[in-house]
């Protein structure tokens, strides 16, 4: 992207304006969550955030527990930046951006304790459920992080356990036992351009970012995960301000679930 457009974005922000006419702390519309869009998944959701669209699907697998946590199952979050969704994405194994995206979503869910890993235990020390959560963007028009985090939470909320027979999964048969998800952890990415803070960045804004902070918080305002990104340095005051924005915006997003 050329420097003139970056300068223009900065200049607009000085008067609290953005290229697409939004205010700095305004989330794109529509914000839409569709549950159960993929019948082959044990749980799934499609999130539309402006023109950004992401599908997340949950599959289940049997596994052995980690030796240090014999009575806990686990989650594995994967993300693929599909070249279908953005002209700049290329085929190949997940690059660093895909890995960071998956790990931000992973920590937001894992650390919030939204899922009780003990409830994924089938036989202590021997057999547990692993939840495989995969993020697939359909159209990347910016802010994949937040859209993916919402979709992952929504997909988990409608995940049902599969039938087990003699320690084998019967994939064709879903039970009516739902996965319990508590606290509604929501990730909000706040970015800094010049002296301004904004949420839900577009592609152009993402390319102009100086620093970014993803703040995951629970319904009661407790923080559960954070990630600072990009090269810009932040003061403590700036970080606290960004956290306030994150908690406030999370409330708004939670309303769409």
């Amino acid at each position: 992207m050329n420097d003139a457009l970056k300068d223009h974005i900065k200049l607009l922000l000085k008067s609290d304006m953005r290229l697409d006419g939004r205010k700095p702390l305004e989330i794109r519309k529509p914000l839409k969550v569709e549950y159960g869009v993929v019948k082959t998944a044990e749980g799934s959701a499609k999130v539309t955030l402006g023109e950004t669209e992401v599908i997340v699907g949950v599959k289940m697998e049997l596994g052995e527990p980690y030796p240090d946590m014999p009575d806990e199952g686990t989650i594995i979050v994967g993300a693929e930046l599909l070249p279908l969704s953005n002209p700049e994405f290329e085929l190949g194994p997940p690059g660093i951006h895909a890995v960071e995206l998956a790990r931000i979503v992973d920590r937001g869910i894992r650390e919030s304790k939204a899922i009780d890993f003990k409830k994924l235990c089938i036989r202590k020390g021997e057999l547990v459920w692993t939840l495989l959560i995969d993020i697939c963007p359909l159209n990347d028009a910016g802010n994949l992080q937040d859209a993916s985090a919402i979709a992952a939470l929504a997909a988990l909320k409608e995940t049902v356990f599969l039938k087990l027979e003699d320690d084998k999964v019967i994939f064709e048969e879903k039970t009516d036992k739902k996965l319990e998800v508590k606290g509604n952890p929501i990730a909000v990415t706040i970015i800094k351009i010049g002296d301004s803070f904004l949420v839900d960045p577009s592609i152009e804004e993402e390319k102009s970012v100086e620093a970014r902070l993803t703040v995951s918080s629970l319904e009661d305002g407790t923080l559960c995960a954070m990630q600072k990104g990009e090269e810009g340095a932040l003061t403590k005051e700036e970080i606290l301000k960004m956290i306030d924005i994150g908690i406030e915006k999370a409330k708004e997003i939670r309303g769409a679930l």
Partner: protein, 238 residues
Amino acid sequence: MVYKKRLNNRGFEELRKIEAKVGVIKRADGSAYFKMGETWAYAAVYGPRNLYPKFLQDPSRGILRCNYNMMPFSSSHGRVRPGGSRRAKEISLVTEKALMPVLELEEYPNSVVDIFIEFPQTEAGSRCAGICAASMALADAGLTMKDMVTAVSVGKIGDKLLVDLDYSEEAFADAPVADIPVAYLHNSGKIVLLQMDGLAKKEDLSKLLDMAKKACNELYEIQKKALKSKYTETKVIE
């Protein structure tokens, strides 16, 4: 055992429910989704665009690249490991060859046209749904095309010939099954994809190809309608 009535209650020449739409991926130059029953294909076209690294460029014509990929959660069995399998590679290849005849790649020297086909959900017939979606996405991208490509699978269970097999039929255990995915060029009537698994006589194949053409004519009408509706749905503001 004789396969008297289809497990899914369809007529022997009846297609699954089809849903199609173009312009579904805003960032792509052309895009479409195509649902055949529970099989759901998205296709996005990027290009013609510059091809790098430069040594891959062909100064006499553009290059077409197709990639077929199942999303990790798209199978009703276990998770599909990302990164592509031998099966996905082969389907990408035959898809590419099925679409190539309709394009005027000589118009785009040194360039590439990329088609990415993704499946959020599959239930048999995915390569055919993928080809139908890709053909629509190419048209939506506004590329010069000589024809539309339509694809369907036909087959034989016991002594019955049928169209658009679903998973229960592909995996039918009580009688021998032949599964034959076919793609037609609509106007010229030529065949650009033909694969076959299973046993069948030459006479059967002849009948099956006619059945496939008939089904493909139906699919073509759906494609055409979806492409037109992108423009007719536009609101006129006076």
